[in-house]
């Protein structure tokens, strides 16, 4: 089972990074891969169990469900429900930790999933680079613009 782990340091206090990340319906405002986002059944985006529907930049759609959200730990977990990409049993975790030395943020984004044999390498790279690493860079840019 592939395990993707990416982490970075953001030169911004955790509270500001978390204020952006905690909105499960807000990824279309900063992630380049996401064109639009909506929560199904008009539920609140911090309600555990809510489902977000993404339309990606290439027009395909996917649905993801919020499994856990903690303002104390500054973490959330979610899984894929429907996807155009062969990522199955995909569960991801996002966690922020303060870097007290400099008031910065350590951000870890990881997931495990299953996929047909032969696809592991391609999808591990895609998730790690196009989703997680691209997300890190996008948040850096987003926070710069927000100053």
């Amino acid at each position: 089972m592939p395990h993707v782990v990416k982490s970075t340091i953001i030169d911004t206090p955790t509270d500001r990074v978390w204020a952006v990340l905690r909105d499960f319906n807000g990824h279309d405002r900063w992630h380049p891969a996401v064109a639009t986002s909506a929560i199904e059944r008009a539920q609140s985006s911090d309600r555990i169990g809510c489902v977000r529907r993404f339309r990606l930049a290439d027009g395909s759609e996917l649905r993801e469900q919020l499994l856990a959200l903690s303002d104390l730990e500054q973490s959330f977990s979610y899984c894929l429900l429907d996807t155009p990409i062969p990522l199955f049993n995909y569960v991801a975790h996002v966690r922020l930790l303060p870097v007290t030395d400099g008031d910065r943020t350590f951000w870890r984004w990881e997931s495990r999933f299953t996929t047909p044999a032969g696809e592991e390498k391609r999808l591990t790279e895609m998730v790690g680079e196009e989703i997680y690493q691209a997300g890190f860079e996008a948040i850096r840019e987003h926070l710069r613009e927000a100053v």
Partner: protein, 145 residues
């Protein structure tokens, strides 16, 4: 119960930073506050349950017991058995996590302990700002930033 959390970013790969800090008897090699250290009973320093007896540069002696050590998760947990600090139930953990974006290491050092309420602020400052941050500053110097 008082709690200390100090974290930093070391400019080196986590396996290299871990090689420097994993030796429970090795603090004099990297921490500027520690003068000398020995493991009681001639036990290996990675045997969980072993006790280190060390002396600080200011002359204080502290005995600490290794409660947990993981080369996989890169953490070390220990408890104070005896010290002049006036703390009870002191348990601390030093943990390293790789930063995949650049060859860096996220380092966390946490402690929980009981003490008289009027001493809590001073102890948190000494342990967090002195011992833990002092250790991270030394690691940052050793790894060039």
């Amino acid at each position: 119960m008082a709690r200390v959390f100090v974290s930093s970013v070391i400019n080196g790969r986590s396996d290299r930073v871990w090689a420097r800090v994993r030796d429970f008897n090795g603090m004099p090699n990297w921490h500027p506050a520690i003068a000398e250290s020995r493991i009681e009973g001639g036990e290996p320093s990675d045997k969980v349950g072993c006790v280190r007896d060390f002396r600080l540069r200011n002359g204080d002696r502290i005995r600490e017991k290794l409660l947990g050590l993981s080369d996989y998760d890169m953490f070390c947990t220990y408890a104070i058995l005896e010290s002049p600090m006036g703390v009870e139930n002191y348990v601390a953990t030093l943990r390293l996590t790789p930063v995949t974006d650049g060859e860096r290491t996220f380092a966390e050092w946490t402690a929980e302990f009981d003490c008289p309420p009027e001493r809590e602020t001073e102890l948190i400052a000494n342990i967090g700002g002195g011992v833990f941050q002092g250790g991270f500053d030394a690691l940052k110097r050793a790894f060039g930033g």
